[in-house]
Amino acid sequence: MKGLGELERSIMDILWAENAPLTAREVGRLIEDRDLAPTTVMTVLDRLSRKGFLTRTRDGRAWRYQPAASRDAYVAELMLEALDMTGDRDAALTRFAQAVSGTEAEILRKALTELGEE
């Protein structure tokens, strides 16, 4: 059986791939690991909801789960956190992005060509 972290990942992948909210039973059917106990799927769905990655709605006696945000949104959040580095906008890490533009990028590009030729 897969680790819990990996299971969370595959369940998120399933829900991201589907466009509709799914019940735990439906998720269990789509998951690769057929030996998985239905309660395990439910536990993981519950955990993900509590962490705020899934939202759930009542559907009769079951819950239907869907991702709170798209995969791309999370990737963007990860990569854009960068701009917030250490809380102050002009920190050294944000300066790098500015240094890369215009003439400074040209200097680096030239250095790269020189180094590449040797």
């Binding site: 990655f53 990569m79 960068a82 250490t86 920190a91 944000t94 300066r95 250095a111 790269l112 180094l115």
Partner: protein
């Protein structure tokens, strides 16, 4: 009174030395030693400036800062119940309040910054667990599907090195190896902990150019220290070209609470250093600076005990 004067002089000396150190270039030839000197200057400045205020305030006790504080507190508590109060010099009282406030700020800030960093990292870690994948070509490294260039380490008890999919395309395998060696050095030496107090101080004093320059210097020195570790395990030239490729690829800076392979405007300084290595500082000089740092850092606590 002597203790207060000496502590004030020490604080001023530290500030002046820090100012000089932001221009120093020998530091690039011994980044690790220079980082230690920076830390020592920071701690000593904090203890000396708060100590000077407290020593002045508690001068009448003639027992030094530590014992004077204890005596003041005991006297204060005893007078709370009774209606009789010792007359107290307003200037000294102001110095006492200023000294204690500064001390509280200097202790609380890194703690608050640490807590905030931990929160940001936890969120980052959770998201990584959901969207990052393992790549057989680079075992042990988390890969995020993102076209831009990004490489960083997420420090913690279980540090993670993360690169973007774009980095895999941007760099040759030798360059990638160099970048990973650089990040592994950050992980191993917990450079994030070195940066934390400087970043906290900077947030406390955003208007201070000296603090800003100090933080930038330490950041650069940390990158250089990681470069030095990496060059032992890979070709320095490949690390240099990897830096330049990152610089020219409109790379995003590294995420909050993480250290980047190329997160500095001083890319060229690092490239020059990698391609044309200067002699590292002679051991005798490094030893001298190290000893000086240790003496400096122990001087302030001793002065806190100095009576008078």
């Amino acid at each position: 009174m002597i203790a207060a004067a000496v502590l004030a002089a020490l604080a001023t000396t530290c500030a002046l030395a820090a100012w000089r150190l932001t221009f120093a270039r020998w530091t690039w030839r011994a980044p690790r030693t220079a980082i230690l000197l920076w830390q020592s200057l920071g701690v000593t400045w904090g203890l000396a400036s708060t100590g000077a205020l407290l020593a002045f305030a508690l001068g009448p006790y003639g027992k030094g800062v530590v014992h004077g504080l204890a005596e003041f507190l005991a006297g204060f508590l005893a007078s709370v119940g009774s209606s009789v109060r010792d007359p107290y010099d307003m200037v000294r009282l102001a110095a006492l309040i200023a000294g204690l406030s500064l001390l509280a700020v200097l202790v609380a800030l890194p703690l608050a910054a640490g807590a905030q960093t931990l929160r940001a990292r936890r969120r980052h870690r959770l998201l990584l667990a959901l969207v990052a994948r393992d790549e057989p070509a680079v075992p042990g490294v988390r890969v995020v599907d993102f076209p831009g260039a990004a490489a960083y380490c997420l420090p913690g008890l279980k540090s993670q090195v993360v690169i973007s999919d774009g980095t895999l395309h941007l760099l040759s395998s030798a360059e990638l190896e160099a970048v990973l060696a650089h990040e592994a050095a950050h992980v191993r030496e917990r450079h994030d902990l070195v940066l934390l107090p400087f970043a906290a101080l900077r947030r406390a004093l955003p208007w201070s150019k000296l603090v800003r320059d100090a933080q930038a210097s330490v950041e650069l020195l940390i990158e250089m220290a990681a470069d030095d570790r990496a060059r032992r395990r890979c070709c320095p030239r490949r690390l240099a070209t990897a830096l330049l490729r990152f610089g020219t690829s409109a790379a995003l800076p590294t995420p909050q609470g993480a250290l980047g392979a190329s997160a500095s405007s001083s890319v060229m300084a690092r490239v020059d250093r990698l391609v044309r290595p200067e002699m590292s500082l002679p051991p005798a000089q490094r030893f001298l600076i190290l000893t000086g740092s240790v003496v400096l850092a122990t001087s302030a606590p001793l002065l806190w005990l100095l009576p008078g």
